[in-house]
């Protein structure tokens, strides 16, 4: 269950530019992370904290969950969001390049169960992040903006084809399970696409349920579920 007044609490992060992750996908992340299936979740690319809300909120509701947020610049919004959380002792901020963050986690012997890749969208960087995550035992990835090369929203821009190409590659092998949402919905930004890919069938089955629940909800119900008002 989300905190009462979720929307108001995280409003500074949720009112975001057009390219930010959609509320619907944020709620998918929250539900997955609070499912008890992960012990350490890593967010690469926080910016104003739209998806960070889901990580922090999940940590508050799952006492076993540890969260690491990494960005080359940690904005004051994200810093406050984390510091004011009841789960702050289990949340760490790494203000550095994702490669450096992954190296630090390896040196500190901190396995990562699940990682959201939403920093750079350049393939070689995402592929390198995926390689370094393999050293951390990561078996579940969350990918935002998987439709950059196919959707007008991005001008079909191949400069930002990282999530698309990484997903293609993972899906080419048996042994990875995937579920995605990239439906165009009026007034939302879900068409950028969001996917979960995992080596774990149980996690995938749970993810299919979570994706199905949140993607079938009308936007008005979605906003109500988060406590958003018409003004909010």
């Amino acid at each position: 269950m989300l905190s009462p007044g979720f929307y108001q609490r995280y409003q500074r992060s949720l009112i975001e530019p057009d390219w930010a992750i959609d509320l619907r996908h944020i709620l998918i992340i929250y539900d997955l992370l609070s499912s008890g299936m992960f012990r350490h979740a890593l967010e690469i690319g926080a910016h104003y904290g739209a998806s960070t809300c889901a990580f922090v909120e999940a940590a508050e509701h799952s006492s076993d969950l540890r969260v690491t947020v990494c960005d080359s610049t940690i904005t004051s919004v994200v810093r406050e969001l984390v510091q004011r959380s009841a789960a702050a002792p289990r949340c760490q901020l790494l203000e550095c390049d994702s490669f450096e963050a992954l190296q630090q986690l390896r040196e500190r012997r901190m396995p990562v169960d699940v990682a959201l890749l939403d920093g750079s969208h350049v393939f070689y960087r995402n592929a390198t992040e995926a390689a370094l995550l393999r050293c951390l035992g990561t078996r579940t990835l969350l990918l935002h903006d998987i439709c950059t090369t196919s959707h007008d929203r991005y001008g079909r821009n191949h400069e930002f084809d990282g999530p698309t190409k990484l997903l293609e590659r993972l899906q080419s092998a048996s042994g990875w399970f995937a579920v995605e949402d990239s439906k165009l919905r009026d007034g939302e930004r879900t068409e950028g696409g969001f996917a979960l890919v995992t080596r774990n069938r149980e996690i995938w089955e749970r993810a299919v349920e979570v994706f199905s629940a949140w993607t079938s909800l009308p936007k008005a119900d979605l906003r109500r579920a988060t406590g958003a008002t018409d003004q909010g």
Binding site: R134, C135, G137, R169, S172
Partner: protein
């Protein structure tokens, strides 16, 4: 003077890569260097070794394993005009475990045993030494990799310039010029498994620890096809751009 050549019972051709001191890894100032590259250093290759001229093809894989995985088509050996159907394309979608099984099974073929030959994956030092063929530049052919010299995503060239070709699939081996050791497809086409662990301190079980891939593939940017570029792969997974190249060991050696 061309390197000595050996041909096994499958018709696989091998070149005798010379021993000696070799320079591997990339210098810190190499253009588009990656954090996963090994640092530039000297390594001693103690003995010459027989390296396959090409990545293992679909024909060779089928002959040894009896089946041939492929992302592209099940129509093995077809003649539709799509070169992806060619049995001379490198096998892809092969895991590290399967690549090792290929080596073991080929080593057990009676004619190979009789000839005193066994097979294994190269170490990554051997792989890079063979790929470079003496070059200390980013690519075995020099400081750039035009898309008419290898099969990779030419949309993203190494040196800024007009985009090149992107085939979006594997191509038959030997379609591009070989390096100075007469090895083909050392850049692009398929990533090639090496024997080594990618990171010895991986936070996984030993069996699941990621292994090294080298050379880049058809799906890669030019920068990840550099001689020193590395990727990591789960040993039980084979992606559509992952194959392997083998080393032949002569018992007489």
């Amino acid at each position: 003077m061309p390197l000595p050549c050996l041909v096994n019972t499958l018709g696989m051709r091998f070149r005798l890569v010379p021993a000696g001191l070799t320079r591997i890894g990339s210098p810190l100032d190499e253009h588009k260097r990656s954090v996963t590259d090994l640092d530039r250093r000297s390594e001693m290759i103690a003995r010459p070794f027989w390296m396959a001229e090409t990545p293992t093809t679909r024909r060779e894989y089928l002959a040894v394993i009896g089946e041939c995985p492929s992302h592209f088509t099940e129509d093995f050996g077809g003649h539709s005009g799509d070169t992806c159907l060619s049995s001379e394309c490198p096998v892809e979608s092969v895991s590290w475990n399967k690549a090792n099984e290929f080596c073991e099974r080929l080593s057990r073929v009676p004619a190979e045993r009789q000839a005193g030959r066994r097979y294994r994956l190269p170490s990554e030092v051997e792989w890079e030494h063979a790929c470079r063929a003496g070059a200390e530049t980013a690519f075995s052919i020099g400081t750039d990799l035009p898309s008419d010299c290898a099969n990779f995503d030419g949309t993203f060239p190494y040196i800024d310039g007009p985009p090149g070709t992107y085939l979006q699939r594997t191509s038959p081996v030997r379609s591009y010029c070989p390096n100075a050791f007469h090895l083909f497809d050392v850049h692009g086409n398929v990533w090639e498994w090496c024997a080594d662990l990618f990171c010895p301190d991986a936070l996984t079980s030993a069996a699941a620890a990621p292994r090294v891939l080298r050379g880049g593939g058809w799906h890669s940017y030019a920068r990840t096809c550099r001689c020193s570029a590395r990727d990591a792969g789960e040993p039980d997974i084979g992606y559509f751009d992952q194959g392997f190249r083998i080393v032949c060991v002569l018992e007489a050696d």
